[in-house]
């Protein structure tokens, strides 16, 4: 596969690409998902500073 005989090595080569592709697909599928946390307490800290 890909000119590499050892399946442990071409496996790693393909797995690198597959895991990066997973990141791309995950990012695109969840592009606008995710809740927002209000962190008003930080404002008190900024004021005290």
């Amino acid at each position: 596969m890909l000119g590499i005989e050892d399946p442990q090595v071409w496996g790693a080569y393909l797995l690198c690409i597959a895991s990066a592709m997973f990141c791309v697909v995950y990012g695109l599928l969840n592009w606008n998902k995710g809740d927002e946390t209000v962190h008003a307490e930080d404002k008190k800290w900024v004021e005290s500073e």
Binding site: Y13, C16, A20, C23, L28, G34, V46
Partner: protein
């Protein structure tokens, strides 16, 4: 011979861009929240590029690229782990919880997150001290690498001492003034330069060697060139894994793949990045950029490092494998390959790539050291939050102290210790922090005593293993030889089994056993910590 005048102009333009972004970070820093966690409102692209550029230092490209020239493409398992652990697990599983818990508890540093989760000033102080004592080792290793690189790039213009000082002063200027915003905006530019540089390197290497499959076949065909000494240790060629259980296999799998791959989860300068975005949306977007970025960094470095052997063997001017061409010094392989196999214009591009990799890692290290000693140890633990000085002032003094120690180490640290400094810091962070960090995020039953015991057990076992069992570090420190008249205490394979494989399980078991037998936190505290966690609104 390179055109030093043109090279100088390129570097000056680059430094002006860095200076502008550092000033931009300074102008956007209005208060301590901005200085420590970028106002918890940083752009996802900036966050992901900054995370990646901080994660990948010059040693990941040059050092580990050289290691790939020695071990071969089996090192790509480290890239798999870098992406799976360093991006997928770190962002999706740890990152989102770290962000929410960090916001719930108003934590501004990694030690502060642990300290507030366990309601323990001891834990915050202990974590701050571990970071402050051991991060300068890692930081000075990056610093020395950068200074040597600058000295080699500008022969006759910069000697090592001047290069080290100039490098530190430039980074210190924008970290000191702009805080984490200065760090992250410059990181984003540096990460972009690294990304472009590595893509060009990969494409040109494959083109020069006749294509992807042809290049790999050519690498497989020179397996008979493996030196006898390496073959005895289990090396079977650059497109094959070493013999299972051989010393080469243990070194590759335990130290390089596991040691470096798992250690990334608990790097304080990386974990704190998740507390700098305002919602999970930014983290989701960061996953996409982070995954591609890491693939293009370590993936390319390891493939090109291994393929450098084909170039050197088939080139009549060399006719030897990369290790032999570099005189046995793995750190010289990638620079030698770039200088001899690539056109001059790319040598300049790659020089900026390496400079960016070093600066982006150093800047975050300086900031982390400052927050650890300034905010965590001095302001929060010693002065109990009432130092009389603002957090920005305290952190800036901390940054100065951290940088001074790093520079002193840079001038005085023995060469043998430089080589193991990064591995020591990564291994120590994983064994000391991972059970307390993961337990704090995922297990409500984790107790203060469990976290404290695991941190003490993890750090002390790791240090003992580095001093007396793991050959690479124990030989370079020399304490075992001094006390017991032998370099390591135990026979094979223990001298080549990375301490993380022993210390991390001990640290985890300690955390679980002690937590199951000690007093749990009250319900109110846990509800406060875990507010919004496990709740996803699309």
């Amino acid at each position: 011979m390179h055109n030093i005048f043109l090279l100088t102009i390129i570097v000056v333009v680059y430094l002006f861009m860095i200076g502008y972004l550092g000033y931009y970070g300074y102008s956007k820093t209005k208060n301590a929240l901005d200085y420590l966690v970028a106002g918890r409102n940083i752009h996802p692209v900036v966050m992901a590029l900054s995370y990646g550029a901080t994660f990948i230092s010059t040693s990941a490209i040059v050092g580990f690229g050289g290691v790939a020239a020695m071990f071969g493409m089996g090192l790509l398992w480290l890239t798999v782990l870098n992406i799976v652990v360093g991006i997928i697990i770190a962002f999706i599983f740890f990152g989102k919880r770290t962000r929410k818990m960090g916001h719930n508890l108003e934590a501004h540093t990694f030690p502060e997150l642990l300290g507030k989760r366990y309601q323990s000033k001891f834990i915050q102080g202990f974590a701050g001290i571990v970071i402050f004592i051991f991060m300068p080792l890692y930081a000075s290793a990056v610093l020395i690498g950068a200074a040597r690189f600058l000295e080699a790039t500008f022969p006759g213009m910069l000697n090592f001492n001047v290069a080290l000082l100039v490098y530190v002063l430039i980074i210190l200027a924008y970290v000191f003034a702009g805080g984490i915003k200065g760090v992250m905006y410059t990181d984003a530019l540096q990460g972009s330069i690294m990304f472009v540089g590595m893509i060009i390197l990969l494409v040109m290497t494959y083109i020069n060697l006749g294509g992807v499959v042809q290049a790999h076949q050519a690498l497989g065909a020179i397996a008979d060139k493996v030196p006898a000494k390496l073959a005895q240790m289990g090396h079977q060629g650059w497109t094959r894994m070493p013999v299972f259980g051989s010393p080469s296999w243990w070194t590759l799998v335990s130290t390089i793949v596991m040691g470096v791959g798992v250690g990334v989860l608990t790097q304080p300068q990386l974990a704190v990045r998740f507390m700098m975005v305002k919602s999970d949306k930014e983290i989701n977007r960061g996953v996409m950029i982070g995954g591609i970025f890491i693939l293009m960094m370590t993936g390319v470095a390891f493939v090109v490092g291994a393929l450098a052997n084909v170039y050197f063997v088939n080139n009549l001017a060399f006719g030897k494998i990369a290790m032999e061409v570099a005189g046995g010094n793995v750190d010289k392989i990638i620079p030698l390959y770039i200088n001899s196999a690539m056109p001059v214009w790319f040598v300049y591009v790659f020089m900026l790539t390496l400079l960016s990799a070093a600066m982006s890692t150093s800047s975050s290290q300086f900031h982390s050291m400052g927050t650890s000693i300034g905010r965590d140890v001095f302001e929060q633990v010693l002065m109990k939050g009432k130092s009389g000085f603002s957090t920005i002032v305290v952190t800036r003094v901390g940054i100065l102290i951290g940088v001074l120690i790093t520079v002193a180490l840079g001038y005085k640290m023995p060469a043998s210790v430089i080589a193991v400094a990064t591995a020591i810091f990564f291994g120590l962070c994983a064994s000391t922090f991972l059970p307390a960090y993961a337990g704090g995020l995922f297990w409500k039953g984790m107790t203060r005593a469990g976290a404290t015991a695991s941190m003490i057990a993890g750090s002390s076992v790791t240090i003992l293993l580095f001093l007396f069992v793991h050959k690479k570090e124990s030989e370079s420190v020399g304490l075992c030889q001094f006390l017991f008249q032998k370099p390591v205490l135990f026979p094979m394979p223990w001298p080549v089994v990375d301490p993380i494989l022993i210390a991390l399980p001990i640290s985890m078991i300690t955390a679980i056993v002690v937590s199951l037998s000690t007093k749990k936190f009250n319900k109110d505290h846990l509800e406060h910590c875990f507010k919004y966690i496990g709740v996803t609104k699309s």
